[in-house]
C-alpha cells in the first residue's frame, strides 16, 4: 500500500515500481481476453495510463492489483469491441451455453500427459484449447486458476457475483478438461508414450 500511497502523491518512481510489479500479469490477462499480441500491448499501455490518471479514485478498500485487473479487463473488452467493428462485447457473452455442464468424454488421461508433447507443441495445444472458451469463462479461469486470485477478488475484478464466478469457473474447468482429453487420453500418441521413435 505504501507504493500506491506514494504514487497517489505524485511520486513517479513509486508508480514505475507498480508498473514493474504488475506488467507481466496485466499483459497475460489482456492477451487471454483479446487473443492478439498487438492488441494486448495496447491494452497494457492504456490500462496503466488509466490507472495512473485515476489513482486518486482508488479507494484502498480493495487491493490495488484487483483494481488494476478490473481496468485491464474493461480495456480488453473495449479493444475486442473495436476489433469487431463496434459490436458490443461483454463479459456475459456466450455464457448461456449448456456445454460443459456434464462431462461426456470420460476417458482417463495418460499418467504424464506433458511427456506426450514437446514444449512448443504443448503451448500450442493449451492456447488453442483455452481460446475455444467463451470470453466470460476464459477470463474467470485465467484470473482464478492461472493468476491465483481468490473467488472474491475475481468477482470484484469482473463485476460479477460470487455465485456467478463459481458457476463459470466450474464450467470453464470442465470444458477445458473435456477438450484436453482429446490430446491427453491414454493411448494418445501411443508411440511417444512407449518411447518408440
Amino acid at each position: 500500500m505504501l507504493l500506491v500511497e506514494r504514487a497517489r502523491g505524485g511520486d513517479m518512481a513509486a508508480f514505475e515500481k507498480l508498473v514493474r510489479q504488475y506488467e507481466r500479469q496485466v499483459f497475460r490477462i489482456s492477451q487471454h481476453i483479446v487473443q492478439n499480441r498487438e492488441d494486448a500491448e495496447d491494452v497494457v499501455q492504456d490500462a496503466f495510463l488509466k490507472a495512473y490518471e485515476k489513482l486518486d479514485q482508488f479507494q484502498g478498500n480493495s487491493k490495488f492489483y484487483t483494481w488494476l485487473v478490473r481496468i485491464a479487463v474493461n480495456e480488453s473488452l473495449m479493444r475486442l469491441r473495436k476489433r469487431r467493428t463496434g459490436r458490443m462485447v461483454s463479459i456475459d457473452e456466450d455464457v448461456e451455453t449448456e456445454e460443459g455442464s456434464m462431462p461426456r468424454d470420460l476417458a482417463d488421461w495418460s499418467p504424464d500427459p506433458e511427456a506426450l508433447y514437446g514444449q512448443s507443441e504443448m503451448g500450442e495445444i493449451l492456447r488453442k484449447t483455452i481460446q475455444g472458451l467463451p470470453p466470460g469463462f476464459r477470463v474467470v479461469f485465467v484470473l482464478r486458476d492461472v493468476e491465483g486470485l481468490s473467488t472474491e477478488e475475481t468477482a470484484e475484478s469482473l463485476g460479477l457475483s460470487i455465485p456467478a464466478v463459481k458457476s463459470r469457473l466450474l464450467r470453464a474447468r470442465l470444458q477445458l478438461r473435456e477438450r484436453l482429453t482429446r490430446y491427453f487420453r491414454k493411448g494418445a500418441r501411443g508411440n511417444a508414450q512407449d518411447g518408440v521413435k
Partner: protein, 79 residues
Amino acid sequence: MTCTEFLQQLDEMLDPAIAGPLRAELQQHLRCCEHCEITLNTTRKTIEIYRRHEIYELPEDLRERLHEAILTKCKGCGK
C-alpha cells in the same frame, strides 16, 4: 449423492483447504464412482498444466519497450 450433485461441488474437492462433512460425503461418492474420480483427477491436472505452462509470456525486450511506453504516456498525460 448423484454424479451431477458431485460435479456441482467439484470445487470443494479441488481446494485442499476445504474439509468437513460435505468433503466426506464427496469422498464417499468417489469411492464407488470411477467416472467422477477420472473427472476430478483430470480437472485437477488441467489446472496444474495451465499453471505450469506460461502460454503468454512477456519477452524481456517487449517488456522493456512496453515499460518505457507506459511511463512516457503517463508522464505526458498532464496529470
